[in-house]
Amino acid sequence: MSVSNMFSYIQGFLSADQDVREDIRKVVQVLEQTAREILTVLQSVHQPSGFKDIPDKCKKARELFSTVRMHIADLKTKFPVDQYYRFHEHWRFVLQRLTFLAAFVVYLESEALVTREEVAQILDIEVVRDKGFHLDVEDYLAGVLIMASELSRLAVNSVTAGDYNRPLRISNFINELDSGFRLLNLKNDPLRKRYDGLKYDVKKIEEVVYDLSIRGLAKEAKSEQ
C-alpha cells in the first residue's frame, strides 16, 4: 500500500469519527438543556415557600425525566455500543448532573441514598457495561457528591424556613455518606478532587446542627415530632 493510500485510509477513518462526535454533541446539548430545566424545578425547594410542596416538585421533576429518557435513547443510537468509553467524555458531565438530579429527587422523596440501579432505572440505562449504555461507577459517585453539597445548602435554607428538624436528618445522612466514601481508595483523579470537597459540606452541616443545639432549637424540633 502506498503512503498516500495509507493516509487517505486513515483520514477516512478520522472524519467518520468526527461525524459521530458531532452527532453525539448535538444530543448531549439537548440533554444538558433538559437537565437545567429539572434543576430549575428543584431549585425552588430552597425558597421558604418551596418547602411545603416538595412532593409536588419531585413529581414535576420525574415527569421531566421522561424527556431525558427519550434523549438518552436517541444518544444510544449514535455510536456502536461497545465503544462507550471512546466517546465517554462527551456525556460524562451531563450524566453526572443527571445522576445528581435523580439522587436529589429520591432524597427529597424518601430521604434515602439513591442506588446505582435506581439511577439507571430513572435514566433508562444499564448498570453493567456488558448490557449496553451504562452508568459508570465513578460518574454515579460524582453525582452523589454534587448532591452532598446541594444538601448542605438545603440544611441552611431549611433553618431559614423554620424547619429545624431537617438539618439533623441531613447531618446523619451526610455523615453516613462520608463514611461510605472513606472506604474508597481513590486515585488522584477528578473524583478524588470532588470528594475532597465533601468535608466542607460535612463541616457546614455540623455547624448548622451545632447552632440549633446550643439554642435549644433542635430539642424543640424533636419534641414537636
Partner: protein, 279 residues
C-alpha cells in the same frame, strides 16, 4: 464560626449523635453498597496499573530495538542486525499479547490512556524495521496482522475439541498515526548518519519518503487528534534537516572528493544530535 470550632464542649452533642450512627453504619445499606464500589474501583485501578507497567516495558524494548536498528548503517551486512531486531520485536509482541489478554472482555477505550505510549513506540519500531527492510511504509493492517496471539495451546493437547483462543490487538488509527510521526524523527537520524558514512543514495531515498509522509500528514491536517498537529511541527523540522542534507550533498558532492564528505557532515551531525535529544 472559628471561635466555636475551638471549644470542644459544644460539639459534644453532635459527636454523640455521630457515634451512635457510625456504629449502626457498619451494617447499613449505604456502607454495604460502598464496599461494592470499593471493590469495583480497586479492580479497575489494579488493571490500569498492570497495563501501565506492560506499556512501559513495551516502550523500553521498542526503544532498544530502534537503537539497534540505527547501527545498520555502520555495518556492511544489515541482515543479522535485522534478524536480531526481529527477535526483539517478537518479545515486544509477547508483551502486547499480555496487554490484549488484560483487555479481553473490556472496553479497550476505557484503558486506552494506560497503553497508548507503548503502542506508539511499538509502531515506531516496527515501521522503522519495515522501512529498512522494504523501503516502504508499513500499513495498519500489516501491524494488526502481526498482533494475533494464540492462547491455551497446552489446554488443547488434553482436550482437542478446545480450540486455541485467538486474541487480537487492534492498533487504533490515531496511535498508528502518532507512531508514524515519531518514525520520521528516526528516519532523519538515519539519513544524517548514513551521510556520515559516505552513503550517498540513502539520503535521497529518505527525503523522498519523508516528503510523502509529510504530504500525508498535511492531507490529514487538523482532522486528526490534537497531538498530531504538535508532531507535525517536529516532522517539518526533520524534513528540513533531511532536505538540507540532500542539498549539501548535491552542491558539494560535485566539488568535494567523496572521502572528505564525512568531515563536512560530522560537525553538522553532532549539532543535530543535541537538538534531537531535546525532542
Amino acid at each position: 464560626m472559628n471561635k466555636r470550632g475551638g471549644e470542644g464542649h459544644p460539639q459534644k452533642n453532635g459527636n454523640v449523635a455521630q457515634q451512635c450512627d457510625t456504629s449502626a453504619n457498619l451494617s447499613s445499606p449505604v456502607i454495604a453498597t460502598f464496599k461494592v464500589f470499593q471493590m469495583e474501583l480497586d479492580t479497575k485501578h489494579d488493571k490500569y496499573e498492570r497495563l501501565v507497567k506492560l506499556s512501559r516495558d513495551v516502550t523500553i524494548e521498542s526503544k532498544r530495538t530502534i537503537f539497534l536498528l540505527h547501527r545498520v548503517t555502520s555495518v556492511p551486512d544489515a541482515e543479522p542486525l535485522l534478524n536480531e531486531a526481529d527477535g526483539k520485536l517478537c518479545g515486544v509482541r509477547e508483551k502486547i499479547g499480555q496487554i490484549a489478554e488484560e483487555l479481553r472482555g473490556e472496553d479497550i477505550y476505557q484503558f486506552h490512556r494506560a497503553f497508548t505510549a507503548g503502542i506508539q513506540e511499538y509502531v515506531e519500531a516496527a515501521s522503522f524495521q519495515h522501512y529498512i527492510r522494504h523501503r516502504s511504509l508499513i500499513s495498519l493492517e500489516e501491524i494488526n496482522a502481526s498482533l494475533v496471539f494464540k492462547k491455551g495451546d497446552e489446554g488443547s493437547a488434553d482436550t482437542p475439541s478446545l480450540e486455541p483462543r485467538l486474541t487480537t490487538f487492534q492498533v487504533m488509527p490515531a496511535d498508528y498515526l502518532l507512531g508514524v510521526a515519531d518514525l520520521t524523527g528516526e528516519l532523519m537520524r538515519l539519513c544524517i548518519s548514513s551521510v556520515g558514512n559516505g552513503d550517498i543514495d540513502t539520503p535521497f531515498q529518505l527525503s523522498q519518503f519523508l516528503r510523502q509522509i509529510h504530504d500525508g500528514f498535511a492531507y490529514i491536517g487538523n482532522t486528526g487528534p490534537y497531538e498530531v498537529s504538535k508532531k507535525l511541527h517536529t516532522l517539518r523540522q526533520s524534513l528540513g534537516k533531511v532536505e538540507d542534507a540532500c542539498y549539501a550533498l548535491r552542491v558539494r558532492g560535485s566539488e568535494i572528493p567523496k572521502h572528505m564528505l564525512a568531515d563536512v557532515f560530522s560537525s553538522r551531525n553532532t549539532h543535530m544530535d543535541s537538538e534531537e535529544a531535546v525532542v
